[in-house]
Protein backbone atom coordinates (compact mmCIF):
# COMPACT_ATOMS: atom_id res chain seq x y z
CA UNK A 1 0.00 0.00 0.00
CA UNK A 2 1.17 3.50 -0.76
CA UNK A 3 2.69 5.16 2.32
CA UNK A 4 0.80 8.29 1.27
CA UNK A 5 -2.44 6.65 2.46
CA UNK A 6 -1.20 6.55 6.04
CA UNK A 7 0.90 9.73 6.21
CA UNK A 8 -0.60 12.41 8.46
CA UNK A 9 -1.96 15.47 6.67
CA UNK A 10 0.39 18.30 7.56
CA UNK A 11 3.43 16.03 7.68
CA UNK A 12 6.63 17.27 6.06
CA UNK A 13 7.56 14.94 3.19
CA UNK A 14 10.91 16.28 1.98
CA UNK A 15 13.29 19.23 2.03
CA UNK A 16 15.79 20.04 -0.70
CA UNK A 17 18.34 22.86 -0.95
CA UNK A 18 19.52 24.00 -4.38
CA UNK A 19 22.31 26.48 -5.15
CA UNK A 20 21.25 28.83 -7.95
CA UNK A 21 24.11 30.31 -9.96
CA UNK A 22 24.38 32.35 -13.16
CA UNK A 23 25.67 29.18 -14.81
CA UNK A 24 22.42 27.40 -13.92
CA UNK A 25 20.41 30.25 -15.48
CA UNK A 26 22.39 30.00 -18.71
CA UNK A 27 21.93 26.24 -18.76
CA UNK A 28 18.17 26.65 -18.20
CA UNK A 29 18.01 29.20 -21.02
CA UNK A 30 19.64 26.66 -23.32
CA UNK A 31 17.57 23.68 -22.19
CA UNK A 32 14.25 25.55 -22.28
CA UNK A 33 14.74 27.96 -25.18
CA UNK A 34 13.80 30.89 -22.90
CA UNK A 35 16.63 33.29 -23.74
CA UNK A 36 15.17 36.50 -22.26
CA UNK A 37 18.29 38.57 -21.40
CA UNK A 38 16.95 39.61 -17.96
CA UNK A 39 18.13 36.14 -16.90
CA UNK A 40 21.81 36.70 -17.77
CA UNK A 41 22.53 40.37 -18.54
CA UNK A 42 22.68 42.90 -15.66
CA UNK A 43 22.23 45.95 -17.89
CA UNK A 44 19.10 44.52 -19.50
CA UNK A 45 17.70 43.43 -16.12
CA UNK A 46 18.25 46.89 -14.62
CA UNK A 47 16.74 48.62 -17.67
CA UNK A 48 13.65 46.44 -17.08
CA UNK A 49 13.41 47.84 -13.55
CA UNK A 50 14.73 44.73 -11.80
CA UNK A 51 17.27 44.81 -8.95
CA UNK A 52 19.55 42.58 -11.03
CA UNK A 53 19.60 39.36 -13.03
CA UNK A 54 16.75 37.12 -11.88
CA UNK A 55 16.12 33.41 -12.20
CA UNK A 56 13.50 32.21 -14.70
CA UNK A 57 10.30 31.64 -12.73
CA UNK A 58 9.98 28.39 -14.64
CA UNK A 59 13.44 27.31 -13.41
CA UNK A 60 12.28 27.80 -9.82
CA UNK A 61 9.05 25.93 -10.56
CA UNK A 62 11.06 23.15 -12.21
CA UNK A 63 13.49 22.85 -9.28
CA UNK A 64 10.59 22.61 -6.82
CA UNK A 65 8.82 20.07 -9.05
CA UNK A 66 11.95 17.91 -9.23
CA UNK A 67 12.24 17.89 -5.43
CA UNK A 68 8.73 16.42 -5.44
CA UNK A 69 9.20 13.92 -8.29
CA UNK A 70 12.57 12.69 -6.99
CA UNK A 71 10.84 12.02 -3.66
CA UNK A 72 7.98 10.23 -5.47
CA UNK A 73 10.51 8.15 -7.44
CA UNK A 74 11.75 6.90 -4.09
CA UNK A 75 8.26 5.50 -3.35
CA UNK A 76 8.12 3.35 -6.49
CA UNK A 77 9.85 3.05 -9.85
CA UNK A 78 7.15 4.91 -11.80
CA UNK A 79 6.48 7.40 -8.98
CA UNK A 80 7.28 10.46 -11.13
CA UNK A 81 4.06 9.76 -13.06
CA UNK A 82 1.91 10.28 -9.96
CA UNK A 83 1.73 14.05 -10.55
CA UNK A 84 -1.53 14.87 -12.30
CA UNK A 85 -1.47 18.63 -11.73
CA UNK A 86 1.17 21.14 -10.63
CA UNK A 87 0.59 24.87 -10.44
CA UNK A 88 2.28 27.95 -8.97
CA UNK A 89 2.10 31.72 -8.77
CA UNK A 90 5.38 33.58 -9.19
CA UNK A 91 5.23 35.86 -6.16
CA UNK A 92 8.80 37.20 -5.85
CA UNK A 93 11.82 37.09 -8.19
CA UNK A 94 15.08 35.41 -7.17
CA UNK A 95 18.02 37.77 -7.71
CA UNK A 96 21.08 35.73 -8.68
CA UNK A 97 24.53 37.23 -7.96
CA UNK A 98 27.16 37.50 -10.72
CA UNK A 99 29.55 35.44 -8.58
CA UNK A 100 28.69 32.75 -6.07
CA UNK A 101 25.15 31.54 -5.57
CA UNK A 102 21.89 32.00 -3.75
CA UNK A 103 20.20 29.11 -1.95
CA UNK A 104 16.66 27.95 -2.72
CA UNK A 105 15.05 25.79 -0.04
CA UNK A 106 12.11 23.65 -1.19
CA UNK A 107 9.86 21.94 1.36
CA UNK A 108 7.00 19.59 0.55
CA UNK A 109 4.12 19.03 2.96
CA UNK A 110 1.08 16.75 2.66
CA UNK A 111 -1.63 19.41 2.38
CA UNK A 112 -4.76 17.27 2.01
CA UNK A 113 -5.86 13.77 1.05
CA UNK A 114 -8.99 12.56 -0.72
CA UNK A 115 -9.16 8.82 -0.12
CA UNK A 116 -12.26 8.43 -2.27
CA UNK A 117 -10.73 10.20 -5.29
CA UNK A 118 -7.40 8.47 -4.62
CA UNK A 119 -5.46 11.73 -4.69
CA UNK A 120 -3.51 13.96 -2.34
CA UNK A 121 -2.36 17.56 -2.45
CA UNK A 122 1.27 18.34 -1.78
CA UNK A 123 1.99 21.94 -0.77
CA UNK A 124 5.41 23.18 -1.87
CA UNK A 125 7.21 26.01 -0.12
CA UNK A 126 10.08 27.65 -1.98
CA UNK A 127 12.14 30.11 0.05
CA UNK A 128 15.21 32.11 -0.97
CA UNK A 129 16.96 34.43 1.54
CA UNK A 130 14.01 34.11 3.88
CA UNK A 131 11.55 35.23 1.17
CA UNK A 132 8.82 32.96 -0.24
CA UNK A 133 9.26 33.06 -4.03
CA UNK A 134 6.39 30.80 -5.16
CA UNK A 135 2.81 31.32 -4.04
CA UNK A 136 0.09 28.68 -3.95
CA UNK A 137 2.57 26.07 -5.19
CA UNK A 138 0.54 22.88 -5.12
CA UNK A 139 0.64 19.50 -6.78
CA UNK A 140 -2.11 16.92 -7.02
CA UNK A 141 -0.73 13.39 -6.92
CA UNK A 142 -2.30 9.96 -7.06
CA UNK A 143 -2.12 7.90 -3.88
Amino acid sequence: MSPLRTTDVGAELFVREVEITRELLVRYAGASGDVNAIHYNDAVAEAAGLPGVIAHGMLTMGLAGSALTDWLAGLDDDGVARVVRYGVRFSRPIVVPALGSTTLVVTGTLGARDDEAGTARVDLRAVCDGVTVLGKAQATITL
Partner: protein, 151 residues
Amino acid sequence: MGTSGVDASLVGRVFTATPPFEVDRSAIRAFAGVVGATAPVHHDPTAARAAGFADVVAPVTFAVVIAQGAESEYVADPASGIDFSRVVHAEESFTHVRPIVAGDVLRTAVHVDSVTERGGLALVTTRTEITSGDDAVATVVSTLAVRGAES
Protein backbone atom coordinates in the same frame (compact mmCIF):
# COMPACT_ATOMS: atom_id res chain seq x y z
CA MET B 1 -0.03 56.30 -16.89
CA GLY B 2 -0.66 54.12 -19.90
CA THR B 3 -2.45 51.05 -21.04
CA SER B 4 -1.00 47.64 -21.67
CA GLY B 5 -1.83 47.77 -25.37
CA VAL B 6 -2.97 44.13 -25.31
CA ASP B 7 -5.76 43.48 -27.79
CA ALA B 8 -8.62 41.82 -25.85
CA SER B 9 -10.48 41.09 -29.09
CA LEU B 10 -8.22 38.06 -29.60
CA VAL B 11 -9.80 36.26 -26.62
CA GLY B 12 -11.29 33.02 -27.91
CA ARG B 13 -8.79 32.67 -30.76
CA VAL B 14 -6.94 29.38 -31.14
CA PHE B 15 -3.44 29.16 -32.64
CA THR B 16 -2.42 25.84 -34.17
CA ALA B 17 0.26 26.63 -36.77
CA THR B 18 3.28 25.61 -34.66
CA PRO B 19 4.87 22.49 -36.18
CA PRO B 20 4.75 19.25 -34.16
CA PHE B 21 7.30 19.02 -31.34
CA GLU B 22 9.49 15.94 -31.54
CA VAL B 23 10.58 14.96 -28.02
CA ASP B 24 14.03 13.41 -27.92
CA ARG B 25 16.14 11.87 -25.17
CA SER B 26 18.85 14.49 -25.20
CA ALA B 27 16.35 17.33 -24.71
CA ILE B 28 14.79 15.49 -21.77
CA ARG B 29 18.18 14.71 -20.21
CA ALA B 30 19.41 18.30 -20.59
CA PHE B 31 16.24 19.74 -19.06
CA ALA B 32 16.23 17.16 -16.24
CA GLY B 33 19.88 17.92 -15.49
CA VAL B 34 19.17 21.63 -15.08
CA VAL B 35 16.03 21.36 -12.93
CA GLY B 36 17.57 18.70 -10.69
CA ALA B 37 15.34 15.81 -11.74
CA THR B 38 17.71 13.00 -10.83
CA ALA B 39 15.34 9.99 -10.92
CA PRO B 40 16.83 7.41 -13.32
CA VAL B 41 13.62 7.30 -15.42
CA HIS B 42 14.51 10.79 -16.77
CA HIS B 43 17.98 9.73 -17.93
CA ASP B 44 18.24 5.99 -18.59
CA PRO B 45 15.98 4.28 -21.16
CA THR B 46 16.53 0.89 -19.47
CA ALA B 47 15.37 2.23 -16.11
CA ALA B 48 12.44 3.96 -17.80
CA ARG B 49 11.31 0.75 -19.54
CA ALA B 50 11.74 -1.27 -16.36
CA ALA B 51 9.38 1.21 -14.67
CA GLY B 52 6.79 0.70 -17.42
CA PHE B 53 7.46 3.77 -19.58
CA ALA B 54 8.08 3.61 -23.34
CA ASP B 55 11.27 5.69 -23.03
CA VAL B 56 12.88 8.33 -20.79
CA VAL B 57 10.26 10.48 -19.04
CA ALA B 58 10.18 14.27 -19.25
CA PRO B 59 10.30 16.20 -15.95
CA VAL B 60 6.96 17.51 -14.69
CA THR B 61 7.50 21.04 -16.09
CA PHE B 62 9.11 20.03 -19.42
CA ALA B 63 5.83 20.76 -21.26
CA VAL B 64 6.62 24.46 -20.80
CA VAL B 65 9.25 24.12 -23.53
CA ILE B 66 6.56 22.89 -25.92
CA ALA B 67 3.95 25.39 -24.70
CA GLN B 68 6.20 28.48 -24.77
CA GLY B 69 7.26 27.70 -28.31
CA ALA B 70 3.62 27.39 -29.35
CA GLU B 71 2.49 30.45 -27.35
CA SER B 72 4.93 32.59 -29.29
CA GLU B 73 2.67 32.21 -32.34
CA TYR B 74 0.22 34.39 -30.39
CA VAL B 75 2.48 36.38 -28.03
CA ALA B 76 5.02 37.40 -30.70
CA ASP B 77 2.32 38.28 -33.25
CA PRO B 78 2.20 42.11 -33.40
CA ALA B 79 -1.61 41.78 -33.50
CA SER B 80 -1.57 40.54 -29.88
CA GLY B 81 -0.31 43.95 -28.71
CA ILE B 82 2.00 42.25 -26.20
CA ASP B 83 5.35 44.02 -25.72
CA PHE B 84 7.58 41.25 -24.42
CA SER B 85 9.98 43.71 -22.77
CA ARG B 86 7.14 44.60 -20.37
CA VAL B 87 6.06 41.05 -19.57
CA VAL B 88 6.49 39.09 -16.36
CA HIS B 89 5.29 35.55 -15.79
CA ALA B 90 2.52 35.56 -13.16
CA GLU B 91 1.17 31.99 -12.97
CA GLU B 92 1.71 28.58 -14.54
CA SER B 93 0.06 25.20 -14.21
CA PHE B 94 0.41 21.78 -15.79
CA THR B 95 -2.20 19.06 -15.96
CA HIS B 96 -0.92 15.71 -17.19
CA VAL B 97 -3.10 12.99 -18.69
CA ARG B 98 0.06 10.92 -19.10
CA PRO B 99 3.78 11.63 -18.83
CA ILE B 100 5.62 12.94 -21.90
CA VAL B 101 8.30 10.50 -23.07
CA ALA B 102 11.09 10.53 -25.65
CA GLY B 103 9.73 9.61 -29.07
CA ASP B 104 6.50 11.55 -28.61
CA VAL B 105 5.48 13.77 -31.51
CA LEU B 106 3.19 16.36 -30.00
CA ARG B 107 0.83 18.91 -31.48
CA THR B 108 -0.30 22.10 -29.78
CA ALA B 109 -3.36 24.33 -29.79
CA VAL B 110 -2.95 27.63 -27.96
CA HIS B 111 -6.25 29.07 -26.72
CA VAL B 112 -6.39 32.73 -25.69
CA ASP B 113 -8.62 32.29 -22.65
CA SER B 114 -8.68 35.76 -21.10
CA VAL B 115 -7.26 39.28 -21.15
CA THR B 116 -8.03 41.23 -17.98
CA GLU B 117 -7.04 44.89 -17.67
CA ARG B 118 -6.40 46.27 -14.19
CA GLY B 119 -4.88 49.69 -13.67
CA GLY B 120 -2.68 49.71 -16.78
CA LEU B 121 -1.68 46.07 -16.22
CA ALA B 122 -3.05 43.29 -18.41
CA LEU B 123 -3.25 39.68 -17.26
CA VAL B 124 -3.14 37.44 -20.33
CA THR B 125 -4.05 33.79 -19.84
CA THR B 126 -3.35 31.18 -22.48
CA ARG B 127 -4.16 27.48 -22.38
CA THR B 128 -2.07 25.17 -24.52
CA GLU B 129 -3.59 21.78 -25.22
CA ILE B 130 -0.89 19.24 -26.06
CA THR B 131 -1.99 16.16 -27.99
CA SER B 132 -0.57 13.03 -29.61
CA GLY B 133 -2.72 11.95 -32.52
CA ASP B 134 -6.27 12.06 -31.13
CA ASP B 135 -5.15 11.69 -27.51
CA ALA B 136 -4.84 14.46 -24.93
CA VAL B 137 -1.42 14.44 -23.23
CA ALA B 138 -1.18 17.63 -21.16
CA THR B 139 -2.66 21.09 -20.63
CA VAL B 140 -0.44 24.07 -19.84
CA VAL B 141 -2.10 27.24 -18.51
CA SER B 142 0.08 30.34 -18.41
CA THR B 143 -0.71 33.84 -17.19
CA LEU B 144 1.50 36.75 -18.24
CA ALA B 145 1.33 40.20 -16.64
CA VAL B 146 1.94 42.96 -19.19
CA ARG B 147 2.79 46.39 -17.77
CA GLY B 148 1.46 49.49 -19.44
CA ALA B 149 3.85 51.62 -21.47
CA GLU B 150 5.06 54.74 -19.67
CA SER B 151 4.04 57.97 -21.28
